[in-house]
């Protein structure tokens, strides 16, 4: 066989080893270049696709940059008032217990205005999956400080850096919900490298599989960049995230099979 392979020989449908899942629509994502929202949407939809659950899934979009998630995810979706996604997800899952239900929320949505809904849904052990995008900031509204903003981190409302005497401490929402008896699987992931994306996808798959066993809340945090809000290029934002976000928000499982696997 000749060594030279032509493009025509390679570009055949049977040789495709990766393409965007059909469960992502063809709409151009409204996210900034390099934002982790897009990657997280895609791996979530890949999991739903691979598990054959497209017609059995109902997702909840939040308020925040991902408010339009229903334009991008090709499954049934509802959109909740700011922070209320866990309440809406609770209602949907209780009314339609055999559907796969997820809420998809940013840190301003989940850890600020929606703190009560998050904590109570987790504590009640509601049987849906929470996908929590933590970029340490309110992305959509212009990069204001969020509860998750790191100490010393600059934002549009903490231009000299977050200082805890005046602005309080950063909140580790995921560690907090891991301590509640209603959560069964709690993990923190990222999507900035191929290896991280593969791991995050496995974690989401595990969460959805566990949901089918009706074990209670499954909770996947994704530490992500908000390169626009952080005022960095996407590549530099990911680097900054590794150096600054990961030490405070370390990746890995926090609770597995209903038991803490990490000190929180």
């Amino acid at each position: 066989m000749s060594d030279t392979i032509t493009k025509e020989q390679i570009f055949k449908p049977e040789n495709i080893v990766y393409k965007k899942t059909d469960l992502m629509t063809d709409n151009v994502l409204s996210y900034c270049p390099g934002c982790g929202h897009g990657t997280t949407h895609r791996i979530l939809m890949e999991v739903i696709d691979e598990m054959g659950l497209q017609s059995e899934t109902i997702g909840i979009a939040p308020v925040g940059c991902s408010v339009l998630a229903y334009d991008f995810m090709n499954v049934d979706m509802q959109q909740a008032a700011h922070g209320r996604a866990p309440a809406l997800a609770t209602a949907i899952k209780r009314l339609l217990p055999n559907k796969t239900v997820f809420s998809y929320q940013g840190d301003g949505d989940l850890a600020a205005i929606g703190t009560a809904e998050t904590i109570h849904a987790c504590n009640r052990g509601e049987n849906f999956t929470t996908i929590f995008i933590n970029n340490g900031i309110y992305g959509m509204t212009g990069g204001q400080m969020a509860p998750t903003t790191l100490e010393g981190m600059k934002s549009s409302t903490s231009p000299y850096g977050r200082e805890w005497h005046a602005m309080g401490h950063p909140l580790k929402m995921t560690e907090l919900v891991a301590r509640l008896p209603g959560t069964y699987y709690v993990t923190r992931q990222a999507v900035h490298t191929p290896a991280a994306v593969r791991k995050a996808k496995k974690a989401i798959r595990k969460a959805i599989e566990l949901q089918q066993q009706k074990v209670g809340m499954t909770f996947v945090e994704v530490v992500s960049n908000c390169n626009s809000g952080w005022k960095m290029t996407p590549v530099n934002a990911n680097k900054w995230m590794v150096e600054n976000m990961f030490p405070f928000y370390p990746l890995g499982d926090i609770k597995v099979d209903g038991k803490l696997v990490k000190e929180v």
């Binding site: 392979i5 040789n15 994502l29 934002c35």
Partner: protein, 73 residues
């Protein structure tokens, strides 16, 4: 030993030029173009012939604009 040969197709008009894929490529096959697409973004392009079809670039692309092909040689 069986070798593999890969190649990619980039949906240039949907690429946002974020460059997240560039470092993810173990064979340094891809680069950003000098040219821009209709939205004004420099798009990613395949410049060398070293692709193994590992899918790394496609997996990490936030906008899902890369399709990867692979054949055994």
């Amino acid at each position: 030993m069986a070798k593999v040969k890969g190649d990619i197709i980039v949906d240039i008009e949907k690429c946002k030029g974020c460059e997240v894929c560039i470092d993810a490529c173990p064979t340094h096959t891809i680069e950003m173009s000098e040219k821009v697409n209709g939205k004004g973004y420099h798009f990613m392009q395949n410049v060398h012939d070293a692709c193994t079809g590992c899918t790394n670039c496609a997996i990490v692309c936030p906008d899902g604009v890369i399709t990867v092909y692979r054949i055994k040689v």
